[in-house]
Symmetry: D3
Subunit: 78 residues, 6 copies
């Protein structure tokens, strides 16, 4: 009876997109449910998956909003 | 000091609606808080309820997005 | 397809108990699931309930650990 | 490796605003991350913060939607 | 920057076990993180996974504690 | 009416300890509640804080259980 809560930033994975597509979300649902079946032998029908898309300014990492943290990390790599 | 997090799909309960109404949400809040009082003797003022409405394409069951899973189950019943 | 997460402090409701009993938890599960059926017309079989029992020193209210906050409130009432 | 989930009502802190500002959210992220460093010695880069803004009608306290509960409490104080 | 919360019942997958093994948990962590990389192109180092093992009497499905619901479903299949 | 959920690994901050101390947890509760007051003007009495201590083998980062990921990162720094 697994419940899987996936939180991601609301962003596109390709230019011109601003969020995960329905296909990508379906792939997350399928993959996460399959993982419970493969590892723990849980039937697909007993797994819930909930995807939560979070605005980038609502996600913090490194003490900063997500986009700012990424910029800082990329600058540090150069 | 209970905290109750209710996740539901964003859908209407009657034709022409696309989400739970304010009255329905108030009923969820009242019922969940009352349950804590009845079962655990927690005063109403010490209970928080948070309702989270999730887009149907962000909710997975049976390895599929929610609406697709429902269609599949209903087809199987026929 | 509701998912309900109930967080409560780990405490007994009567002298000599230090946690909710199995019967109380079953009552929480039954009541929360029934609420989804009554208010949103969700079949019982489509609702998950997860009860999370939290040590009182891990629960904060009023800027204090739960037991300390309660003592302070009760003192203020006198 | 802390993860901090902050749920707040979606409201402004000053007239003319209807939600927390980007600056306020950045302050929450910075403050929560710093707290993990100060108290538990966790490096900033190992802390995630997620802010979840909840519509006031989706938040319950005292068995009522949040705004109604506040009105009732304020009336009781008079 | 995904965060994945996996809630499962605390049960073994084979006779003589009463919980998921460290190997099974590592497989859940690996699989869930890889899924974020495959579907959303998120680097492994930007994904947190938290596994939460829930006592079966704290998990409800079908309005009943989990084990009771399973027994009832299995009886109905016969 | 903020609710703050803090998930940390169950580990001590000094030799001979295997978990956060009651004092450290009280400091997390105080600091997180104060942050809501300072940034969003929320009274202390309207904030709940819940601390969730997670076994290190239940926490994943970088596709690995937490301790293994740390070892790998430290090795990479040398």
């Amino acid at each position: 009876m697994p419940y899987i809560h996936i939180q991601i930033t609301r962003e596109g994975t390709a230019p011109g997109r601003d969020a995960a597509t329905a296909e990508e979300k379906a792939a997350l649902i399928k993959g996460a449910s399959q993982l419970m079946l493969d590892v723990l032998n849980k039937p697909l029908e007993s797994t819930f998956v909930v995807i939560d898309e979070v605005a980038t300014e609502n996600w913090g990492w490194g003490g900063l909003p997500a986009l700012e943290y990424r910029r800082q990390r990329e600058a540090a790599r150069k």
